[in-house]
Structure formats: C-alpha cells, structure tokens
C-alpha cells in the first residue's frame, strides 16, 4: 500500500507491505537510519520518534497508522553537519560509547526538555526509563541531560 507522511517537515511516500512498521518504513523505504532497530518490542527506545508530536517507539507503530500524519525523527533535530545541543552535551559528558542507543536517548531527552526545562533527577530518570543503554551505565547520560538542560536554560 502507498503510505504517505510528513517526515521532518517534508512529505514522503513509499509503496510498502501493509504490515510494515514505521521503523522499517523510515529505515528501509526512506533511508533514514538514525532510528535504530534493536528489540522490536518497545523495550529499548532505540527507535524513538515523534508521531504527531508524541514520543513513541516507531517499531510499535504500523507505518499505515502514520499515513497522512507528522513524524519527526532524530535527523529532524538539526540540519546539515551541525550537532544539536543535546548531541553536543552527550559527546562532552562521555554519554556515548557504542552509540547505538544514542539517537533514541537524544530524542527522549529533547522530548523531556521541551516539557520541563528544569527537570529533577527523578524526572529525568522516569523520562528515560524507556531507553536502554548496555554500555555506559547511565550516569554519564544523566550528566549529559543536566548539561543540556543548563545550557538550554542559559540560552546558549
């Protein structure tokens, strides 16, 4: 079936098997490899995107459910070679090791900071409870969130 959606501001469409997940649609039909495929059961958050502005695991969304809707992926955070301030904070805090979970974390952190500019440590932990990292042990990720939040509040 032909599925059409606005991805990072641009209308995109592809003819796919009707059972295709949004994650497979983004990666395989549109070549957007930022959203990662890991668990395919909504446990790891590596495929996190926004569907009509709501944070979701794209592996659990049928591509057809996003038909005529708005999707934003990690690629939509910045344009060109510039990094998003959250991505810079991850690099500086050493919150990136193998990097596989990072796009999902960056999207979840962006979602959090849009809602709460000054999140408490408990709020950060809850907001990231749907994202798994098997390398860093999380402390550096939490540090990166604080760094990103501070810079964002300072308006830099």
């Amino acid at each position: 079936m032909v599925v059409r959606m606005r991805v990072n501001g641009a209308w995109r469409e592809a003819d796919v098997w009707p059972g295709t997940s949004l994650l497979a649609f983004l990666r395989e039909a549109l070549g957007l490899y930022g959203s990662k495929n890991a668990c395919e059961q909504g446990e790891c958050g590596s495929c996190s995107v926004w569907l009509d502005g709501t944070l979701a695991c794209s592996c659990l969304v049928l591509a057809a459910q996003a038909h005529e809707r708005e999707v934003r992926t990690v690629e939509g955070l910045t344009s060109g070679d510039r990094l998003h301030p959250i991505q810079e904070a991850f690099l500086e805090a050493g919150a990136v090791q193998c990097g596989f979970c990072t796009p999902g974390f960056v999207v979840a952190v962006a979602d959090l900071l849009d809602k709460d500019a000054n999140p408490s440590p408990a709020t950060v932990r809850e907001a990231l409870s749907g994202n798994l990292c098997r390398c860093t042990g999380y402390q550096k990720i939490l540090d990166a969130v604080q760094l990103a939040a501070e810079r964002r509040r300072a308006g830099s």
């Binding site: 997940s21 709501t54 057809a64 979840a108 409870s129």
Partner: protein, 267 residues
C-alpha cells in the same frame, strides 16, 4: 494483508461487520510485537487510532466512562480523581509505551498481567461493546474476560470502553480487592473483601479515620488475599513466592487506601 483506516466509529463498525477477521489495532504495544516477531499475520488490520469517539473519558449519570482509545498518559494527566487507575497507569511500561498503549488494548488482549484490568475489576466495571448489527451491549468485567487472553467480544464487535459507578467504597462501606498476574485471569478476593469490610465496621474506622484496625484483622485480610490468588510456578518465580507477594502487597495497599481515603461530600 489489508490495513483499513476508518475515521469514525460508524466507519470502524462497518468495517468490522464486513471484515470480522480484521484485528483491531490501537497503540500497537501488543499486536505490533507479535507481528514484528512473525508470530501473527492477521489477514486484515483495522486501525482505531483515528477514531476520535474512542479517545475520550467522561462522567455522566453517576458513572465514569473510559473510552477504549484513551492512553495511559492521558489517564495519568487527566484522571487524578481516580487514584487507583492513575497509579496502575503510571506503572505501565515507559513514557513511550504509556503514550501509545490504551485501556482498550489491555481489555482486548485480556492478559492476566494487563495493568488496568485489576482496577476495572475492583471498580466492578462493565465493558461496553458495539456492533453495527446489534448495537451496544455491556458485560460485567468478569463475563467479558472469559480466560487467559480470551474475551466475550463477538467477531463483528469493537470494545468501546469501560463504565463504572462513581463512589463505590464509601457508599457501600466495602473494600474491593482485585488481583492481576496471579491467576489465569483477573481475580477478586471476595472473602478478603468481606472480612476487611466487616473489620472496618466493627472498629468504627468508616466513621472515624483515626480508629485503628486490629492488627490481627490485617493479618487475616492479607492471608485471605493470598488464598484467593491462583499463582503458577514458572521461570520467573514460584507460586509460593507470588502468594507471599500477595500477602505483602495487599497489606500495603490496604494501608494506602485507608490513609488516602477521600470522604464523600455529604459526611
């Protein structure tokens, strides 16, 4: 495989009448996992995520009605007056899962571990179903949930939502106890309910919140809850441990319920 995208409830019921084999899809937190792992390949899927009629909740005629398409995030954000439901909803998955998962999904999947189901059982909720041919009908939750992952939903019906009477405990002076994940389906611990309801009456706690419950009654309550459970031995734990968990958690839950109890306005 065919995917059907209705934009209204009428359209969705029309589709279910013509394609009774179409599996309803909402947040995808159950069905998409099965599809991703190749365990199910339904001949048709009907996507309910655009059916706005299902995504609201309301209070009417002394009842609460919770639409099947309401997500756990919406419950946590909007339904603060329903503390048990909010607490259960907050414990669902992660933000990503709560943003997508719906009450209707818990009902339709009918897993004994569905987080919203014990609350609906404790509320004595009715499940509202609708078909194009026969219109609307309601079933008490225990007639709706017919077994592990089995419901009384007819092939041409959709789950519209759940409905329950407001102010249950204070009006009837009853404590309702429902158990999830410790039996083939959701269970009510009726003997424990009767024991603790009577204990609250004889200790005067219904009228005077500070009147303490006899500790022996609390022990008996916890024991009766554990007896009502029907847990299994499996790779995740033993039946004995799960029964012990029922004892501990029911004691805690009773404490919370009594300390957070809201008195009705007429008292």
């Amino acid at each position: 495989m065919e995917v059907l995208l209705p934009h209204s409830l009428d359209e969705a019921l029309e589709i279910k009448a013509e394609h009774p084999e179409a599996v309803p899809l909402s947040g995808g937190t159950d069905l998409m996992v099965e599809m991703n792992f190749g365990r199910v390949r339904p001949p048709a899927i009907v996507d309910l995520s655009r059916v706005a009629e299902l995504t609201t909740w309301r209070e009417e005629n002394g009842h609460a009605f919770l639409g099947s398409g309401v997500t756990y995030t919406t419950i946590v954000r909007e339904m603060q007056a329903y503390e048990p439901l909010v607490q259960a909803s907050r414990s669902v998955g992660s933000p990503q899962i709560r943003n997508r998962g719906t009450v209707g999904g818990n009902l339709g999947t009918a897993s004994p571990a569905g987080d919203a189901l014990p609350v609906l059982a404790a509320y004595d909720a009715e499940i509202v179903l609708r078909s194009r041919a026969r219109g609307e009908r309601s079933l008490p939750w225990n007639l709706f949930l017919t077994g592990p992952k089995k419901t009384a939903t007819a092939p041409d019906e959709l789950i519209i939502g759940a409905r329950w009477r407001l102010v249950i405990d204070e009006e009837h002076r009853r404590v309702n106890v429902a158990l999830g994940s410790v039996g083939p389906t959701i269970l009510r611990a009726t003997q424990a309910e009767e024991r603790v309801s009577a204990a609250l009456a004889s200790s005067g706690t219904w009228d005077d919140r500070s009147a303490p419950l006899n500790p022996q009654w609390i022990d008996e309550f916890a024991e009766l809850v554990a007896t009502a459970a029907q847990p299994l031995d499996d790779v995740r734990g033993t039946a004995a441990y799960r029964r012990h968990g029922c004892r501990v958690l029911s004691r805690r839950a009773l404490g919370w319920a009594l300390s957070e109890r809201r008195l009705p306005t007429w008292l």
